[in-house]
């Protein structure tokens, strides 16, 4: 009988690059200024082809590492966004010309309170209905929901063509007092 595996320890991770964020991870009690104006959102526009998920993962990992997002939560966000982008590459532009997949990421904060990441994956196509017995879809959407706090799938707010997937991460709490000026 195969041994049942225990849950893994989270790997340690060193942010390799900050993307416009004001503060470095710092020492304990020294909060990252995730709400600072210098924290740029993530903005990607990817051609909808099979390379798109890997590009999205790479860019998203860098952006989240720049925010010093905790490693375990970071990987969950990357997994969920990869699934959403992957679905869009497979289904969004089957009828009609190839298009772009927009991936927009922002930090959602409350002063002194929890932080979340919100990533919206949006295509501009008209989805062909996925095959009923497509197990990837049946597994992919629950995987997204397990990784994130909420997943909302629907039509874009601007009334345009396409599908919008809003992924809101679990909250992390900002620790320590606000940095003194």
């Amino acid at each position: 009988m195969p041994a049942r595996l225990a849950p893994a320890m989270a790997p340690t991770e060193t942010p390799d690059e900050t993307l416009g964020c004001a503060a470095s991870p710092g020492s304990s009690g020294d909060p990252v200024d995730r709400a600072g104006e210098a924290c740029r959102p993530l903005r990607l526009a990817l051609p909808a082809d099979p390379v798109a998920p890997s590009v999205a993962r790479h860019r998203l990992r860098r952006w989240l590492a720049g925010l010093a997002w905790p490693a375990v939560e970071l990987e969950d966000i990357v997994l969920a966004v990869s699934e959403a982008v992957s679905n869009a590459t497979e289904y969004a532009y089957l009828q009609g010309p190839p298009g772009l997949i927009d991936v927009h990421g922002e930090v959602e904060t409350t002063p002194g309170g929890p932080c979340r990441i919100v990533v919206v994956v949006r295509d501009h196509g008209r989805w062909r209905c996925p095959p009923i017995d497509d197990e990837n879809r049946r597994r992919g959407v629950p995987l997204m929901r397990a990784c994130m706090d909420t997943v909302t799938i629907g039509s874009p707010d601007d009334g345009g063509e396409g599908t919008c997937v809003a992924l809101r991460s679990k909250a992390i709490r900002v620790t320590g007092p606000p940095a003194a000026d």
């Binding site: 009988m1 195969p2 041994a3 049942r4 595996l5 225990a6 849950p7 893994a8 320890m9 989270a10 790997p11 990817l46 051609p47 082809d49 099979p50 390379v51 798109a52 998920p53 890997s54 590009v55 993962r57 860019r59 375990v72 990987e75 969950d76 990357v78 997994l79 990869s82 699934e83 992957s86 590459t89 497979e90 197990e135 990837n136 597994r139 992919g140 629950p142 995987l143 397990a146 990784c147």
Partner: protein, 137 residues
Amino acid sequence: MQKPVVGASDDGRGSVNEQLVRIDIARVVDGQRAALIVKVAGEIDVLTIDRFRAAVGTGFDQLPDGGILVVDLTDVTFLGSPGLQALVDATRTASQRREPLRIVVDATRPVIRPIMLTGLDDVLALFHTVEEALQAA
């Protein structure tokens, strides 16, 4: 930063595909049983899934009678739902052929996390190391 590859150019997409995952198949004889080890390093997603499935298929084709097929995912850095589906399909094939398929994950989070989130740790035959996979009864 590498630009995304657009369009149907095999060269462009092929080279990104080659960079994203490496798959090697090795034959070992461990004690009385022969085994084939399909070792995967890198990312298994929609781009690389065809190569992964093909490698597992080759593993089944080349497996000697009574042999064990081992899929070593210890160096996999990303596993999404296409990869999960491929592992489920391979497990089904193995069951139909009455040949064991053993999957090595070494508790590395990129691989074990999606497996556990989807409950597949009850479906897939998982092992911590290649040695354990070869030695299990």
